[in-house]
Symmetry: D2
Subunit: 260 residues, 4 copies
Amino acid sequence: MSKLILPDIQSLTDARHIPIRRVGIRNIRHPIIISNSEGLEQSTIAYWTLTVSLSAKEKGTHMSRFMTLLELYRKKVMTPFMFCEMSKNMLEMLSADCGDINAIFPYFINKSAPVSKVKSLLDYEVKWIARATNKEIEFEVVIQIPVTSLCPCSKAISKYGAHNQRSNITISLISSKEIKMEQIIRLVENEASCELWSLLKRPDERYVTEYAYNNPKFVEDLVRDIAIRLNEQNDITWYRIEAENFESIHNHSAYAVIES
Amino acid sequence: MSKLILPDIQSLTDARHIPIRRVGIRNIRHPIIISNSEGLEQSTIAYWTLTVSLSAKEKGTHMSRFMTLLELYRKKVMTPFMFCEMSKNMLEMLSADCGDINAIFPYFINKSAPVSKVKSLLDYEVKWIARATNKEIEFEVVIQIPVTSLCPCSKAISKYGAHNQRSNITISLISSKEIKMEQIIRLVENEASCELWSLLKRPDERYVTEYAYNNPKFVEDLVRDIAIRLNEQNDITWYRIEAENFESIHNHSAYAVIES
Amino acid sequence: MSKLILPDIQSLTDARHIPIRRVGIRNIRHPIIISNSEGLEQSTIAYWTLTVSLSAKEKGTHMSRFMTLLELYRKKVMTPFMFCEMSKNMLEMLSADCGDINAIFPYFINKSAPVSKVKSLLDYEVKWIARATNKEIEFEVVIQIPVTSLCPCSKAISKYGAHNQRSNITISLISSKEIKMEQIIRLVENEASCELWSLLKRPDERYVTEYAYNNPKFVEDLVRDIAIRLNEQNDITWYRIEAENFESIHNHSAYAVIES
Amino acid sequence: MSKLILPDIQSLTDARHIPIRRVGIRNIRHPIIISNSEGLEQSTIAYWTLTVSLSAKEKGTHMSRFMTLLELYRKKVMTPFMFCEMSKNMLEMLSADCGDINAIFPYFINKSAPVSKVKSLLDYEVKWIARATNKEIEFEVVIQIPVTSLCPCSKAISKYGAHNQRSNITISLISSKEIKMEQIIRLVENEASCELWSLLKRPDERYVTEYAYNNPKFVEDLVRDIAIRLNEQNDITWYRIEAENFESIHNHSAYAVIES
């Protein structure tokens, strides 16, 4: 049986008169090469979701073309600009009016410990989203930044000590100019009770313990203090700031969110 | 040291002039008793998130009151009405203008196999969301319904067989009148290639195999056919229909979404 | 086509001469009623795995019978004794020489806060395992107990404060006599830097903060101190103690394990 | 305060007389470079766990040295041999008698579709484990291979069609000689109802549909047929074969395991 005579069900005309907002492939794991703020390449692994709109008259999209697109961009060095270009390319390949690409991947920064200066990688969970129409492309970056939070109430009411814990700060933002991920991460880490490192020597551990004790923050303080910093950035057109504290004194989280 | 003289940091006045959209507790596991469509009680376990708005002048919310609220409603039989009442109660207890409660829990339906009629429980993942302001409360229900999907293309181009797989259909809806969860689930299962049961005897297995083969559906067909049914329900003011096929021929999913 | 003439493929003789260690159903969500230490019933939801051995000459097991078994025990009040009886019943229903049942479920204890005595539920993840042969049944209980750990090094080297975090202690044990889950949980919580509660008032928060500061423990101390306590229990024939600290100063865990 | 006078709590002598089986760091995300079967490098991301034994007299291990080790090997091209060398190095750095390293990472193979020959990456979840003592190092590889399974019973009892689904085959093995991961994966994929590809054109989809229909396999058949193939490999000293079918007609899995 030749390839040509296989019926193409997806290309049939649909009679239900119902357009589909988005259709495509979801949660496919595929490598990605990210260019970091110094222009260095970082090979990492992303979970991708690629979807397009489908007009009321088309029965189905062409799923295999999303894979072809992924393969096309596999060895390219991805910047937000390149990622948006990829979404534009997707609309063409799928003959679609609009569509979204999102990729979630771990991103590493080589940090120096605060006192000993020993270096180690810290992992941040990043999500890039490109929302493309025939007219424009919106790029959103989401970064999950792990930090320490130390409870102001616990410190104020106790003779010694204060409960503290790991927290995740999740920043989502849309900007009129590209903002380096390292810049956002730095801004957020500066507003935490303390930032994290993967490798700490004893003098470093002393430093982070005392630093956190000197900077108590509620989950509410975290999102407010970061909001003040983001409000100073004129290029940011929209943001959402979420903080989740994995409370060391409970088996649940404290959570706060501010949206611009 | 007496309780009275412990400083109340959360109640201090905040000078940053930044209101917080939502703050509260997240992902706390707590029992819930659900009333099913026949008024029977079902004891299940939910992950709860309870959050309220916080005005610019308040430093922090009172986290422990969310737990007090949960404890208050632990032994009540929860209906959408009672769940909304709980959200109203939350606003009062926290002195907040608006707030959300959401609870995610497994919900079971005792189904009869199609031929043998043997009974077994099937689990559905349900999410209830109450969004309360001082003026009104919006209730959204989200139900994840596992079904079989069978690929029309695979069937049409192959001499025999057709690839099929488990799919999750996720229905989110807001309605002006209460719609029974069993009714939504029935509507969705009727539009799948085939519905699922936990217990099937051989005659049942034959039935579901042939039934699915006779009802091939793309991920696009699933969301469209369900949209047609939901459009017939006048009480529904908003819906989102998502379908995710855990493709048996790939290691990724096909996905489609329609929103009213 | 009548039910009787459907071929029974599973019952065919297998010619490959390879016995199967375990075969069955995995990760099925189904309700379970647990009897707690005071004999009160607790309705919760378990993920079940039920498997049996299959001799070299049998082609397949009868998957639907596992569901029939689950349905049979759905409304029974489960104790370790009843759970073991269920595994014996499974061997008969499946005509198998040996088999395992395991069920993972959240279990709740109503705890009084240390100072205010307000009550709230804390959730523990429990796993029951019954390993049955025609001769005997082994029962293993696994309990995951969330606690606070406070770092002795951080405390010793810092002028003030000490990093602390939520930790999970996982106790697995086999005993010649039934040991109440509440008893194991109490024993473990006593050896942590501090135990957890879902609801704490300010005087309670002060108490847990100072208590943890007065009881610094490395991940190594946690497993050793619990081992000392478990060694005092003569009925325990085997145990494993694991501690995982979700470090507040890192984005990874510290981990230790002792096995008897 | 100078670095020298910070007390070293971990190095104190412990009086409890309880050795610790393993202690270290768990679930740290860090890059890894894998050499594939053609000697080509593949940059991927692993979750690492590194642990060592601790004698009864030592109070604590030195957690930061695990990070130093990870950093040392970050840019090396990892083979099973290099991975074992790393574990030996760990024992020296931590002055330990025995210890384990395990790393879990996605591994990609560039596959050609069966008819069209178009190429696409398929992801496999791999776990490497090195168990080191001062005398010897044991290396275990675990590979999770996604495949299609098609039910022989469903095919035999139905007039047309047969339910099929994605399955995960998990192979764990210890070998006296290095076995290429590609070789294990090929062996397993040959025994499935059909192997998977990320990108299939219509002629390929027809091929996989008919191929699976012609190769029905129960979960029991999958583990037995793979066992026969692994038994032919003389270098394998131990194996475990697990198959999990994400049943398309149920909301739970069928599961089987054989261990040599």
